[in-house]
Amino acid sequence: MEAGFLQFGFLLSDAGIDFMVHGVFQYSLFGQKVWITTTHVCLFIVMLIICIFCLCANRAIKHATEVPGAFQNVVELVVEMLDKMIAGVMGKRAKPFANYIGILFIFILLSNISGLFGLRPPTADYGTTLALGLITFTLIHVTQFRNNSLKSIWVDMCSPLPPWLPIWFPINLISEIAVPISLSLRLFANVLSGTIMMALIYGLLGIIATAWPAALHVYFDLFSGAIQTYVFCMLTMTYITNAYPSD
C-alpha cells in the first residue's frame, strides 16, 4: 500500500474540498512568525460593510425627515427591533449595554451570513468567537464587582454551603470560567459545522450540486446563523443581568 494513501489529505485535495483557514501574508512580530489569514480578510470586509452602513445611517438620521424615506425607515426598524429585544430581557438595566449588545448582534449576524456571499465566515475561527466570549466575561465580572460588595460575592461563590465553609468554591470558580468557553465554542462549532457541510457538498457532489444547495444555504447560513446570533446576545444579556444584585 502506498504510504500516503490513507492520509486524509488524499481525499481532501483530490476532491477539492476546502474549508480550512489559509494564510495570506506572513510577517514577524517580536521574533514570532504571525500570519494574516483569510479570517482577518473576511473580518475586515464585514467591518467595512458595517462602517459604511453606520456612516450612511448617521447621515440619514441627521437629515431626518418627518415622513421617513426608505433608508431611514430601515435604520429605524433595526434600531427599534434591537432596543425592544434588549429592553425585554434586561428591563431597567438595559441603558448602559444597549449599544454593545446592538453592535454585537449586527456583527455576529453579518459574520454568520457572509458565507452566503462566498466568504469564509469569520466566526468559523475560534480566535474570533473566543474574543467575543472574553468581552462578555469581562463585562459580567466588571458589572458584578461594581454593583456587589466583596462579602456578597464571596457568599455567592460558596453558595450552597455557608460562607465559612468554602468547599464549594472551586466548583463555582470552574462554572464561572466555563461561561466564556461554552459561549464561544457554541457559536464556533455551529458556524464551522455549517461551513464544513457546505464544503463537503460542493466538493464531493461536483456537477450534481448546482441550484439545490441554495435550500441548504438558507438553513445553514441564514437560519442557523440567526438563531446562534440571537442565542449569543440573549445569553450575554442574561448573564449580565444576573450579575446585578437581586432586588
Binding site: 486524509f8 480550512m20 465554542l185 462549532a189 455551529n190 464551522l192 440571537y230 442565542v231
Partner: protein, 84 residues
C-alpha cells in the same frame, strides 16, 4: 510497542465516529423541548412568541454537548493530535 501512523489515523477515524454519537442526547432533548413548546402553544396560543423564543434558547443551550462531540471528532480528523 511501535505503531504505524496509518494505523493510528484509522483508529482516530473510528474514535471520531464514536465521538459524534454524542449527537443522540441533544436530539432527544431538543425533541422533548419542542414537544412541550407545542403543547404550551396549544394551551395558550396568545403566548406563541414568548414560548418560541424560550424554546429556541433552551434548544441552543442543549445543543452544546452535541457540538462538543462534533469538535472532538474534528480535532481527531483534522488536527491529528495522536499521529506522531
Amino acid at each position: 510497542m511501535e505503531f504505524n501512523s496509518n494505523f493510528i489515523l484509522g483508529c482516530s477515524a473510528i474514535g471520531a465516529g464514536l465521538a459524534v454519537i454524542a449527537g443522540i442526547g441533544p436530539g432527544v432533548g431538543q425533541g422533548i423541548a419542542a414537544g412541550h413548546a407545542a403543547a404550551a402553544v396549544g394551551r395558550n396560543p396568545g403566548a406563541k412568541s414568548d414560548v418560541t423564543s424560550t424554546m429556541l434558547l433552551g434548544q441552543a443551550v442543549a445543543e452544546t454537548t452535541g457540538l462538543y462531540g462534533l469538535l472532538v471528532a474534528m480535532l481527531l480528523l483534522f488536527v491529528k493530535p495522536l499521529v506522531p
